[in-house]
Symmetry: C2
Subunit: 714 residues, 2 copies
């Protein structure tokens, strides 16, 4: 790619970003859009404000930037939770790292690269200059200037490790203090126990009770055996939907809407009273649910939520193997009640294990299938290849602007489109895998999406070739540095374009929320009061985190290969920092709270990026005929791995479970708390399956409905 | 190697075995040799029987075989402990596996191999036939008969896995019942805590006490802070030796021995009263020890043994991270008091970690250095190569007998010699690594020796070439099957000879105990009553287990390549079974009891052997032009790995720690035990460093000595 193509791409995306910002700053002031741009606040206020019209509403203003910038970290923590703070720390960490990298890269490495003669381009024609002349490829083979790159690699690794250590230490201390300041929560006192051994004489419930009363007499509090309720769940969901529709009809006074034809699309057929019609259907559903519930009583699963009267008591049962057979009485920390994910629940050890294996196979299959769109994208960056495939395109492709758009913009857009299907698929895989909570599913999906991105975006693009070729390279580890050193620098221009397109534009479209905006517009056109159905979205960590840390990977690997990428990355992180702060404060509400458990993923991926950089460095110094530098790089990955191992021992345990010290202190605090008796009362029923609560929607044909009743055990 | 050379080797070794057996059955009846052949029994009886002379004492008899055969497993368990039973299970497991393998191999595979024409030797001259004609190399390329080998690989893998599962299950149940039947032991109630955070105001002892009193108020019993005492230990050892010598002098009535010249070797110099002389030296030593002890009081280490009043209480503190910083308050199960190994003790997290890394580097260095003797040995099996190196040997080497001895016998003897240095070195490495107990050191050394053996005996011999070449093969994983398939079958004759020489002879020399016999003979010649110094040896698991399971590896990998090895292996295991039973009953006394923790090493190494067989099978079917069979073997390693993973989840946890169920049951049993109060009293001082006990040998110049006094805290 030549410089002018890059500039075209930058121009297009800058324009898009500005457009999005302008539109956002106008649209967000319209009261009707509050449910799109500030659902979190709407939810809190519980009513949509009806502001008066003023001219100011139509003028773009940067006020939201200030609003997003202002809150301190503690304020952020108290409003959006620790996970969101950790998410923002990815941006601050990256900004720190790439500011240092940018200074080194732009002031030292870039001039050296540019002054090299290896690629021997014409110096005068800057716009048509290939971007490669800014990369290490342009430095002369065997030149002593490469030692500066060598030093830069060492210094940069040191800087990254220093910041990594600082962040890990800071976040782990935050995690502990977050735990100390937390209120008693059911999941802190509860374990999920799977693999309860069956008994012919007694039910699972009795087995659980006798086991825990026997072995944990002083700490055991209560338990809830899990039942298969997926069918009831569906029925209740339908009933609730129907109930809401009924309630809406009731609140509407204009009675002409109450009647509709019952045929196709409400156009044909007999006119019916909708209130009456829905009421009857709701009743039928309720009967159905009750019948299912009564028949389900026997469908117990060999798993239960077991609650203890102290956090430490739960931790004891969690950490020590319970039964002689380790595949029975398998304990794991229970998720928060609202975080429980039921559909794929499996209690059997073998079944879960097989599911896990199946998911691994499925992930591999997905990765291989995904190479097809990647190969298409690669064709677009190599226009000459495309011309030989489709000769009739020759005329069109010779137009400068079109060819620049195609090489600079289209490839990453297509990739982006295909990539957007991946996170939902990975979420599905992770839930099949047997995680019981949404948070764990997202965490597991997050790693999966990350590795998928690395493989399919980074390696598949850098190594360019057929799928089979990739696999073969990794069967010959000796060749990896060389192959990477040949492939990676050549794709520098693609990845710079990728950062600009995928990074800048996707992050500003995140702000603009195009899709929810259209949805809300349509629903307002049709129903006139969609705000009743308001559901505050939660931030999809599993797709956002991999995207952000993939840019870290690009920055780290290209730091000394093509430092030109760094300014674009810095812009990306600045945008991201402000925009995500704004979104977290206004749009997203946390669906769960892991207490910062996403950070180890960020840490590990950064370490991986460093190692990748080292491997490429080994290869490139070899290619550049500086074998001494090539072998002197080898201690670097070893030291990085040792550093990682140290961090793993020093910080990771805190992210897995809380230590005795914290648990006991927190338990003692509670002993003096008068509200604990009430909390224990609630704890007993906290993990009752919502599907098993008696349903009672008293919405009948008389036109009045009482609020949703889930009253039985409360 | 040709058949007659193998027969020569078998003949020599059979002769040696018979000689050893005969000598053993005579020598063991001589009362003077009881301390060599039955030190365990001597120790028990505490006096050497003085049997009358009879002719029967000079006749060889197989009575010891019956004695070794007779005890049932339960009797064995009660006399020699679970570790020894597990050790014997390696033999029974191997016998089961190789009986099945032998039946398949000899009746089906061997005839098929022999009837092949690939190597096209003359059929008539059987003695000069190369052993290769009994191996798979002789089967015609692309022959459909290879499918029989293919099926055999599948069947055999199934059989091995079945037996592995059975053994793992049996031994883990034995381990649990062994725990149930054990008496309360200090190490069950005690943890070793390292990384105690320092405090400027209080000593480590106070910090430990306040921490555990705070967080484990109901279970904490007592603690003992560890001190640096290596110097005192040496002094006390000297003092004890001196004291024993004094005691012996006292018990001897013939006073002429009391006087000796004080010069060189007791020949020159002034005559002195030895009693007086030793007494004075002992007193000086005692003063020295006391002085060191008083100066040591301050040299506390940031580590302590912390005892709890129940096994479950100790388990709780063991399994849950104690402090917020995971590098502080690091807990691990304490070893039994007599099992503690002090010399390399280190409490610092970082120091231990660096030591571990240093040991890894040292192991790699040792492995590379060891290739030198291996290359020499390889030269001996390829006589023609030796002749080109040393032309003057041509005349000697042309003699049939000598060449047969050299090719059939010498190589493995030299290897054996070099190999005998490895276990002590590995023990040293493991102790540097930071293990606190002898049992853990032996366990770790056992794995190290095993991997060392596999690499330096199996791979180095099979792959034949320079050290660098080996490493390069493993950098190109794709080529591994092919390289192994070329190298491994070619070395069949070497490994058959290895089993015969190293296996048969070393196992019968184990019975004969040549080295201790000579030592005892010499000491009897010099001192006349060496039996006072009697120290019952313990079985060196770290050298014996790898040797035995290396034969399993040979049997599994050569099962379908060269089934001729199987009868020799069966003989080896039969011999081993009887001889080790005999030795365990008569010679060795257990120095520690891990409760069968050695079995997972055996299991893992067997799985590795299976995988190695599969890799070779993939390669060999490829070489034999049967690519379909080659790819159909691939599911086999995958299935084996899954089986291993299942076993790891199903059985391994029991070998790492006992579950709540066992601990609580056992604790409850103790509650009704009246002797527990006394036990707790002893527990408080159980981990007192022996070096810090007040020394008091009242052996003074008056000629009378009281027994060793370690009385202070008891």
């Amino acid at each position: 790619m030549i410089l002018s193509a890059l500039l075209t791409s930058v121009g297009i995306n800058l324009g898009l970003c500005l457009l999005f910002f302008t539109l956002y700053s106008i649209l967000r002031k319209q009261p009707g859009n509050r449910i799109v741009y500030a659902p979190r606040l709407v939810e809190k206020e519980k009513k949509s404000q009806q502001a008066d019209f003023s001219l100011e509403r139509l003028l773009p203003s940067p006020g939201w930037v200030r609003q997003a910038w202002e809150p301190s970290e503690d304020e952020l923590l108290s409003t959006v939770g620790l996970d969101a703070v950790v998410f923002m720390h990815i941006f601050t960490f990256s900004l720190k790292v790439f500011t240092v990298a940018g200074i080194i890269g732009i002031t030292i490495l870039l001039p050296i690269n540019f002054l090299g003669n290896q690629l021997s381009y014409d110096f005068s024609d800057l716009p048509n200059k290939s971007l490669d002349s800014f990369s290490i490829s342009n430095v002369d083979d065997g030149s002593n200037r490469l030692w500066i790159h060598f030093c830069a690699a060492y210094v940069f690794t040191g800087v990254v490790c220093y910041f990594l250590y600082q962040e890990y230490s800071y976040i782990s201390s935050k995690r502990v203090s977050y735990f100390y300041s937390s209120k008693p929560q059911p999941h802190q006192f509860t374990l999920l126990v799977r693999g309860i051994p069956g008994s012919s004489r007694s039910s699972f419930s009795e087995v659980v009770e006798s086991f825990f009363k026997d072995y944990h007499p002083s700490t055991y509090l209560s338990h809830t055996v899990i039942r298969r309720t997926s069918k009831i769940q569906e029925l209740t969901k339908d009933a609730e939907k129907l109930y809401r529709r009924l309630a809406r009809l009731n609140s509407n006074d204009n009675s002409h809407k109450r009647f509709r034809r019952d045929g196709f699309l409400g156009i044909f057929g007999r006119k019916v009273d909708l209130l009456d019609h829905y009421g009857k259907r709701l009743e039928a559903l309720q009967d159905n649910v009750r019948m299912e519930q009564s028949s389900l009583a026997g469908k117990e699963v060999a798993a239960a939520f077991v609650s203890f009267n102290s956090r430490y008591g739960a931790a004891i049962a969690l950490h020590i193997q319970q039964g002689v057979n380790p595949t029975e009485w398998v304990t794991e920390q229970a998720p928060a009640p609202q975080d429980v994910h039921w559909p794929f629940f499996s209690s059997s050890f073998m079944k879960r294990w097989i599911c896990k294996l199946a998911v691994v196979v499925a992930c591999i299959a997905l990765t291989i299938l995904f190479l097809i769109p990647v190969v298409i994208v690669q064709g677009l960056t190599h226009l000459d290849q495309l011309e030989t495939w489709f000769p009739f395109l020759k005329g069109v492709l010779n137009l400068t602007f079109i060819s620049q758009v195609i090489t600079g913009y289209l490839p990453s857009l297509i990739l982006q489109l295909f990539l957007s299907f991946v996170p939902p698929i990975m979420i599905m895989f992770s839930s099949i895998q047997g995680h019981i909570s949404l948070s764990n599913i997202e965490k597991s999906a997050c790693s999966k999406v990350w590795w998928f991105t690395v493989w399919n975006i980074f390696f598949a693009n850098a190594l360019s070739g057929t799928a089979l070729y990739h696999v073969q390279v990794f069967l010959e580890p000796k060749k990896i540095p060389q192959v990477l050193a040949e492939g990676v620098p050549a794709q520098a221009s693609f990845f710079i374009a990728y950062v600009v397109t995928s990074g800048w534009t996707s992050i500003s479209s995140e702000l603009f929320r195009m899709f929810p905006l259209i949805c809300s517009f349509i629903s307002r056109l049709c129903c006139h009061n969609a705000s009743d159905d308001l559901e505050v979205p939660s931030i999809p960590y599993h797709s956002e985190i991999p995207r952000v840390i993939f840019s870290v990977l690009l920055g780290i690997t290209y730091f000394f290969l093509a430092p030109l990428i760094l300014p674009f990355l810095l812009v990306y992180y600045c945008l991201g920092y402000i925009i995500y702060r704004n979104q977290l404060l206004n749009v997203y509400a946390p669906k769960f709270e892991t207490g910062g458990k996403f950070w180890p993923i960020v840490h590990n991926s950064t370490i991986f990026s460093l190692l990748l950089m080292h491997v490429i460095a080994i290869g490139i110094f070899g290619l550049k005929k500086l074998p001494l530098a090539s072998s002197l790089v080898i201690p670097l990955p070893v030291l990085t791995l040792l550093f990682n191992e140290y961090c793993r021992k020093r910080f990771l345990p805190i992210f897995e479970a809380y230590p005795t010290e914290c648990l006991v202190k927190k338990d003692r605090e509670d002993q003096n708390d008068a509200t604990m008796a009430e909390f224990y009362g609630k704890l007993v029923t906290a993990y009752q399956d919502p599907a098993l609560m008696p349903v009672q929607y008293s919405g009948s044909s008389d036109g009045r409905t009482s609020p949703l009743l889930h009253a039985a055990n409360v």
